[in-house]
Symmetry: D2
Subunit: 432 residues, 4 copies
Amino acid sequence: MSTHDTHLRVGMVGYAFMGAAHSQAWRTVNRVYDLPARVRMALICGRDIGKVADAADRLGWEAYTTDWRRLVESDEIDVVDICTPGDSHAEIAIAALAAGKHVLCEKPLANTVAEARAMTAAAATARESGVRAMCGFTYRRVPAVTLMRQLVAEGRLGTIRHVRAAYLQDWIVDPQFPLVWRLQRDKAGSGALGDIGAHIIDLTQYVTGQRISGVSAITETFVKERPLPGGSSGLSAHVDGHGAVDGHGSVDGHGSVDGHGSVDGHGSVDAHGPATGLVTVDDAAVFVARLDGGALATYEATRFATGRKNGLRVEINGSLGTVVFDLERMNELEFYDATRPAAEQGFTRILVTEGEHPYMSAWWPPGHIIGYEHSFTHQARDFVEAIAAGTDPAPSFADGLQVQLVLDAVTRSAEAGSSWTDVEPTLEVVAA
Amino acid sequence: MSTHDTHLRVGMVGYAFMGAAHSQAWRTVNRVYDLPARVRMALICGRDIGKVADAADRLGWEAYTTDWRRLVESDEIDVVDICTPGDSHAEIAIAALAAGKHVLCEKPLANTVAEARAMTAAAATARESGVRAMCGFTYRRVPAVTLMRQLVAEGRLGTIRHVRAAYLQDWIVDPQFPLVWRLQRDKAGSGALGDIGAHIIDLTQYVTGQRISGVSAITETFVKERPLPGGSSGLSAHVDGHGAVDGHGSVDGHGSVDGHGSVDGHGSVDAHGPATGLVTVDDAAVFVARLDGGALATYEATRFATGRKNGLRVEINGSLGTVVFDLERMNELEFYDATRPAAEQGFTRILVTEGEHPYMSAWWPPGHIIGYEHSFTHQARDFVEAIAAGTDPAPSFADGLQVQLVLDAVTRSAEAGSSWTDVEPTLEVVAA
Amino acid sequence: MSTHDTHLRVGMVGYAFMGAAHSQAWRTVNRVYDLPARVRMALICGRDIGKVADAADRLGWEAYTTDWRRLVESDEIDVVDICTPGDSHAEIAIAALAAGKHVLCEKPLANTVAEARAMTAAAATARESGVRAMCGFTYRRVPAVTLMRQLVAEGRLGTIRHVRAAYLQDWIVDPQFPLVWRLQRDKAGSGALGDIGAHIIDLTQYVTGQRISGVSAITETFVKERPLPGGSSGLSAHVDGHGAVDGHGSVDGHGSVDGHGSVDGHGSVDAHGPATGLVTVDDAAVFVARLDGGALATYEATRFATGRKNGLRVEINGSLGTVVFDLERMNELEFYDATRPAAEQGFTRILVTEGEHPYMSAWWPPGHIIGYEHSFTHQARDFVEAIAAGTDPAPSFADGLQVQLVLDAVTRSAEAGSSWTDVEPTLEVVAA
Amino acid sequence: MSTHDTHLRVGMVGYAFMGAAHSQAWRTVNRVYDLPARVRMALICGRDIGKVADAADRLGWEAYTTDWRRLVESDEIDVVDICTPGDSHAEIAIAALAAGKHVLCEKPLANTVAEARAMTAAAATARESGVRAMCGFTYRRVPAVTLMRQLVAEGRLGTIRHVRAAYLQDWIVDPQFPLVWRLQRDKAGSGALGDIGAHIIDLTQYVTGQRISGVSAITETFVKERPLPGGSSGLSAHVDGHGAVDGHGSVDGHGSVDGHGSVDGHGSVDAHGPATGLVTVDDAAVFVARLDGGALATYEATRFATGRKNGLRVEINGSLGTVVFDLERMNELEFYDATRPAAEQGFTRILVTEGEHPYMSAWWPPGHIIGYEHSFTHQARDFVEAIAAGTDPAPSFADGLQVQLVLDAVTRSAEAGSSWTDVEPTLEVVAA
């Protein structure tokens, strides 16, 4: 396959935050990496004809549609990229796989275990025809995270003893922040847990090579009722770009087909104030866990950590060393190597911008940092290469299902008064 | 009361790590602070006559004894300072209080709830005669910690949403580290949990003004058998001063009367190797908790966090702000004030060395930092002032009991498969 | 002017490091910002037909040429973007301006004051016909730098007392690193001084609003002879991508038309070793300076600061506050506000990713950082807007000339034994 | 010599800031280190009988006097510790040495080169009788600084290329801060230059093992007139303990015999405002320098760096590595080792609290930090050991003289319009 005559025609569903990030990746990937195929941004899909037309123009897609079924079935499309809220993932992904399209699906894979199972089964079936499926846990491809994985895999940390993971944000601390779709269970599945907790579950399992076997959890909704978005109170203008009705302001999540701006059936209108609705997801989740390799772990996902904007922080302690990562300083990795001479031991701040570091030789000279969206370009690179090579990309849908099973255990533990809850094993999926 | 004619004659039991730290405090306190009484380092007690004589000479005590009962009953003593392992706290403290001596007792207050209750009752009784009792959670008197408390008390953080506390050390990561007294339940009561977990429990409750109401916990002993100390393998020489038979090497704990170097009944001798014994305490404890003011919390205490030497780290998120503290940088406090203009918000690294900061006007000019032992001097100051003023010092024995009740809930939860366990309330103690 | 019917056709000369960064900016700018014109990447120029064809394909240019004169004179080009080494800036820029093309010229503006003066005069003349010229000191458009400027301009720092600026790199510490064009005076003009020293001169003058009035300087060439590049020793393969013959590996500089890989006349060949040549530029330059507003300053530019990869660090102290910036953490700004209550003062780490911060509302949610190349997109945005609005972009060629005058004063001071040397004033340039 | 029968009787002149720090060291040194002699705090001297009596009582000296001549000549004194302002160092030190007393003299050694020469000559003469003299550049004994020296001496940094040193404070930023003795040339000799600049000159020469050979300097007095201290405006109460008439508030300097509170002859009284006087020393000094081993250096000493309280920061770049130190985090050293594998290189934050680190085995367990005054205890230890062993302590008076020669070169350069000025070599001092 040559770059010059092989094209991968991408069709993307959704155009909000994730849509913008994915677009930047598709646009950039061939400009930075030598790849066996050239990406064409062929078609974008959204429900609102005006908005999707604007998005196509702004983000640089060749065509647009409001019908995702047409997109997944089109002969003009090779890859379907799903950037919608979780409630539509299963339907779109399964249809796309059935139509023989390679699928990149944003995380979390689905809103429920049942959906995730169905998607994983569909992927297994499609795989037999050479169709590839990948779940978008992009943080695996932050170079510092990949480097962590390498250090663990090389045994540099020895036996893993502790995982300490938190994903801290603060965008809904204000009780007047409106009831956007991310705060509604029917759209988002869960709150901080599925949105950002899913990231640290996947990331720590990826880096350690171990899986969470059981949890004891607490979840909490601190602010139980919020103003409806888009009302006369005009709150979305107050909140710095978060919470806009079309979902653009969403923090580290996916865009939506049409933004799901409506709040169906939850609203209450007070004669003297703006309409409000019930928050039906968690604001925060904390849990302790055991990993199947023997480590103890603490996890926390919250949208109420004032001052933490995108504070994904992970520390992993092994018998020989420790690694520490903070997404707000994503170009850095701290590494403590306990095999060094005692007087020289310490946390080494590795600036992960050298040509020797994962993904970095294609970018800028050492010390010239990369940003948030670059991981999406890395993801695009690896997906294109896997398709071209006919190999399975990671994380797979089965990996996405496994994260879903952990989320499910957390939810069940929290509902059962924090009782210990084993994570259901991922059964081997047999193609239907 | 004038400094020149009032003396407080201190008798200290124990002379190891805590004994050295307390000695430095008693020696220094009148040189730095203007106090209503002058401290005399009158008498030191330990079981080994040679060692206590050496300690008296080195640490600067006027006299020494091997009989703690003589010390607590002596007419020449006003204050009894208990720096022994937890298993002897109750007996010494109760006797000292009964003898009308003011008592400063190292943390944790005791090894069991029953002992802590008895001590608290004894303190309540003695209080009626004007006798004062204080538990040595010294970290409350790190100026940055006191400043955190002030900020919370002034409402600067708003409603507390999250507590994130970890006390991380690494001094027993090496499986060849010997079975010192801190790794034996009969001497130490528990492992990382009581030794360092107690600190973060007290500190976070103090700073937030809230109490832990329930927990779900895991504890673990990663290395279940270790070489006996002082054996022919001479391991204590390998371990950089930790684990010496007389307890000097202990990390953030108390000294011991005679070091409890013996390992009674646990040892096993293999024909081909050094004698080993069973570790009977936890290496690590992790738990999630609820505070009675509505906050969610995660706690972790471990001696297996490679690279973390004295890593007490606390972050508290409120609706209006956040504070972050790290004991390895104990002169600094990070404060995020969400009421500042949006473009200027950020974590402010306050160098807590200004005359305006708690305890600091007596020390050096701004920017000239203080060290670990200074908090003990602050503790000595406040205890001397409380005695002179006839007021109750804090933390009280009842506070120490409450921490013991949390530790007990953690242990019970861990033993019951991480099931949710309420912390038993501290009943009002009525003097006997 | 509407985005949909107005295009700016860009012709870029040079395709190495700067060419790649500029290409990414031109490709991205309309995807992120709403602009009055749409950029077309029309034509790229380089001397080597094969390489420029490859670059056009890889970087996404519509066409290519090896004749820069054809490019600057083409009716199909609106904007000329000059990304070549400094020795060709003047000729290209003056020709482009004469042909009525808007010009963006990489820094430093030229290799000599005389060239810079001629360019500035040409820009002044062209300006009368509505032609715009801009010098590419992109770091002004790092959001944290722009924010620094805003804080100073608002008076938040009070009277400026000190500037402390260093640009530290380490890519030629190894004496076996080859003699690339950046180490040759005829191509590069100067070494660390012009390459990276120019950046901190411009940046600090921009932020403070003051100009350097005089200097006392030392320059040094630590390694005076180096292997020729591309020789049989194959050193370029050793040096991690730096120093490749075509200039790709250059650190924070410009690309070159054809890379200037040849080393004309400087080489010496030893019978027993590889050919070497003399380094004819400075490895490092340090100087003290006065600013015309009364501040004292220290400056340092070096390629011998082991461990500093792209360590541009600036601290500015004023009577009311201080700002600190480090390019390796370019999303952060430290701000000390001495008007805050004494107990709360400290360095506030502002994560410059909020919608309120310069340039950031178009990018990702708060806490999602941007990378090195984003500043080039900001530069492209502002240049496009200035062209559309008919206003003068900044920094102007006159600003570039003024930096050149400072560089010249530094060089003259160093040559005169560090004697104090006034910076020649930028005379008002009258259009010819 | 046995600890139990050998005493060193110390007589200290001065009782302000440095007097307090030295007292804490003398009091502590035998409690922490096993030494061949025991220190007795025998006699303290100050001009004001009431104040020196109070100081003796508070700081724990056995006796006091107002006559320093009696102190230096007393048969009851073995060591004279000089903690007065620089204008009295020479007279006291020379008399003490002549009387056969070992002398520890605070830095800078003197206010003039002539005085420093005379002192050095006196020390050389006294040395022949076994009398020891030491200059109090205590920062050499911050463990992280000693560790830096060790790394350089072991060749871990390779060839030194750059020294980057700044000592930044901010205590006189406010123009209403009064005209204390440190701002008067006749008492203090110079301003920031001699007070804190001297520290970084000594420290960097000590660490690199190289000497400054020449400088080009600027000095500045930003605020040329200030209120007289102690006047009716009561400013000393405003300034947080700085600038009190008796010198207590001085920042990183020496105390004074009687504080030199008077401002002789400089004051001017305005009918409408408080009396003011001229500032006769520098507020800030900056200079570039060459070291005799080939390194380039920048130095800066200022009291106008808002937010920097005790910001002594040093970075040293060598061909193989870099070290970075910041006194506000004095328990840490950053070390970059360029011989490590490329993907793992970075700045290692060494927490200098291990038993393997200089001076630290006697203090607390790893991670338990020390404070500002501990370096004085280390100094006391080394001085006591040198006296007992009959060896020469370092830094010697000759070292102090050499620093004075650098200060002199800086002053002369600044006075000569920043012209390059060679540092006068320290001639070998022959005992008279």
